[in-house]
């Protein structure tokens, strides 16, 4: 039991699960190359680098160049997974993501760690509340923000299986578990109803899915039955799930670590 998420177990940070899943994936697929921009120990791509040093490139503090290089690798048949903080790889690498990855529809997987404001005390330069809007504006990109370690593992596997660019946002703090194990039915673009309800729907993603479940428990004590939808994929959006929620519950509340403009809300 913990005070922030009563009723939920705290699991690993999604960034830790990303690193573990990437390393595991590396054992299966030698077309995977991993690039990081001097934050490998924070994004957790470091573990892949230790296991597969010949397929790991630390480009130094050069986000724009890293994205361009990834485009070059991908156009030669590699599957690059590149990572940095969300606010650096997406914001500093945006034009490169657009020209070298998105429009050519290349098979590059981008992980932005330390997403949202939950990374905490490092302040506004490190926090990222614009990355989802920018990533959603990139043609051909899938944009995904897993809720917990289990969903992150599923998302990393799905990102590899998907042919085309994918943006995954991970978080720094340990995340409350909303799944018991890796969700086998995970698919990009499909919302997951974690709690049934008819009075209101809370649509959330990332760490706020756990918070939404906690909120729904509290509402139940007041006689309000809230549906909770985990909208891990922001693009493509499961708009049918949104329409059903609006029709069946009459009200929707969105919880996300992002600005109102351009995010899930």
């Amino acid at each position: 039991m913990n005070s922030l998420y009563p009723g939920l177990t705290i699991g690993k940070a999604t960034r830790d699960a990303y690193g573990e899943a990437l390393k595991a994936l590396g054992a299966l697929h030698d077309d995977i190359v991993v690039l990081d921009a001097d934050l490998a120990k924070s994004t957790k791509s470091y573990d892949f680098g230790q296991a597969y040093p010949d397929r790991f490139i630390n480009v130094g503090i050069q986000e724009a160049n890293m994205v361009g290089m990834a485009g070059g690798f991908a156009s030669c048949g590699k599957t690059p997974f590149i990572s940095s903080f969300a606010s650096f790889v997406v914001l500093k690498g945006f034009d490169q993501l657009r020209m070298a990855v998105a429009y050519p529809n290349l098979n590059v997987k981008v992980c932005g760690s330390h997403g949202g404001i939950s990374l905490g005390e490092d302040g506004v330069s490190q926090q990222s509340v614009e990355d989802i809007a920018l990533a959603c504006a990139l043609p051909n990109f899938v944009v995904c923000m897993p809720a917990d370690e289990h969903e992150m593992r599923a998302a990393v596997a799905a990102a590899y299986a998907h042919k085309g660019p994918v943006y995954i946002r991970s978080g720094r703090p340990k995340a409350p578990l909303v799944y018991k194990e890796t969700p086998s039915e995970f698919q990009f673009g499909r919302a997951d109803e974690l709690r049934a309800g008819t009075d209101v729907t809370i649509i959330a993603n990332g760490m706020l899915v756990g918070a939404a479940l906690v909120a729904a428990d509290r509402l139940a004590k007041d006689g309000i039955e809230a549906r909770v939808l985990n909208m891990a994929t922001v693009k493509p959006l499961d708009d049918q799930a949104v329409r059903r929620a609006a029709a069946e519950t009459g009200a929707i509340v969105v919880a996300e670590e992002h600005l109102l403009t351009g995010g899930l809300g």
Binding site: V33, D54, R55, I57, V59, G60, Q62, A64, N65, V67, G68, M69, A70, G71, G72, F73, A74, S75, C76, G77, K78, P80, D95, Q96, R98, M99, A100, Y103, P104, N105
Partner: protein, 269 residues
């Protein structure tokens, strides 16, 4: 082409004619028009994407597509956009035109070539003004560190950028020293001296480390009223200017003299 489309960048295309011609027809850029997507083809990235008319012309001449298609440049539904678009046709290896990006892509390709023990080489043609972009130096620094064995950066140093002379806007000096300081080997040549261009490309192929060729060129080369005149950076020739240009070239003697050989390696007939 540019007259037909009534827009485009003649100056920076003409300065690169010898460089691009030597690549496609001098036996340096390895391609096979019968197997345009082959994994071991050399990669050519035109990082100074606004110069793409000269690349399209070379590609048509080499047999990537019909010469007649050149007249569709910049027109609606054409594959020949005003700047290169990866995916528009084989042989266009990167989307460029947002300056500064091509070398990074080339570094990735060159490292992929080494990683897979492939033979293909990556050639990146940059503009000198373009080298004001910080990303060029990120890529140069990364290549200087990782030292991919088959990467050639060619700078079409025509001394001008859109707003005026490079030296008057932001000087690149000391230019060769910048590359050398990042562990590149550098050679400076006259980019209109075909023998010197070919010699430099041969030398580049023998280095097995990142090579930079600084080709000193003249913007608008070959058209007397465009040479050194930066007003033709992004302005297509008028009817009269087209006629005067073609007269200077004596077009009757310029009928195709360059073809690709059966093995797909560009050679001069």
């Amino acid at each position: 082409m540019l007259h037909e489309s009534k827009s485009g960048h003649p100056g920076g295309s003409l300065s690169a004619v010898e460089l691009v011609t030597a690549l496609y027809f001098g036996g340096f850029l390895r391609y096979d028009v019968a197997d345009q997507d082959s994994a071991d083809r050399d990669r050519f990235i035109l990082s100074k994407g606004h110069g793409v008319p000269v690349q399209y012309a070379a590609m048509a001449e080499a047999g990537f597509f019909d010469v007649a298609e050149l007249k569709t440049l910049r027109k609606i539904d054409s594959r020949l956009q005003g700047h290169p678009v990866k995916g528009s046709m084989p042989g266009i290896e990167a989307s460029t035109g947002s300056l500064g990006q091509g070398l990074s892509i080339g570094v990735g390709m060159a490292m992929a070539s080494d990683m897979d023990k492939m033979d293909f080489r990556t050639w990146v043609l940059l503009g000198d003004g373009e080298c004001q972009e910080g990303q060029v130096w990120e890529a140069a620094m990364a290549a200087g560190h990782h030292k991919p064995s088959k990467l050639v950066a060619i700078v079409d140093a025509n001394d001008f950028q859109l707003d005026g002379p490079v030296d008057a806007i932001i000087t690149l000096d000391p230019f060769a020293a910048k590359w050398e300081s990042m562990n590149w080997v550098v050679r400076e040549i006259d980019g209109h001296d075909m023998a010197a261009v070919c010699d430099a490309f041969s030398w580049a192929e023998s280095q097995f480390r990142p090579v930079c060729i600084i080709a000193h060129t003249v913007k608008g080369k070959g058209v007397s009223f465009m040479e050194h005149q930066n007003s033709y950076h992004g302005v297509a020739p008028s009817d009269d200017e087209l006629a005067r240009s073609l007269a200077e070239f004596d077009v009757a003697t310029l009928e195709p003299t360059l073809v690709t050989s059966g093995n797909g390696k560009g050679v001069s007939k």
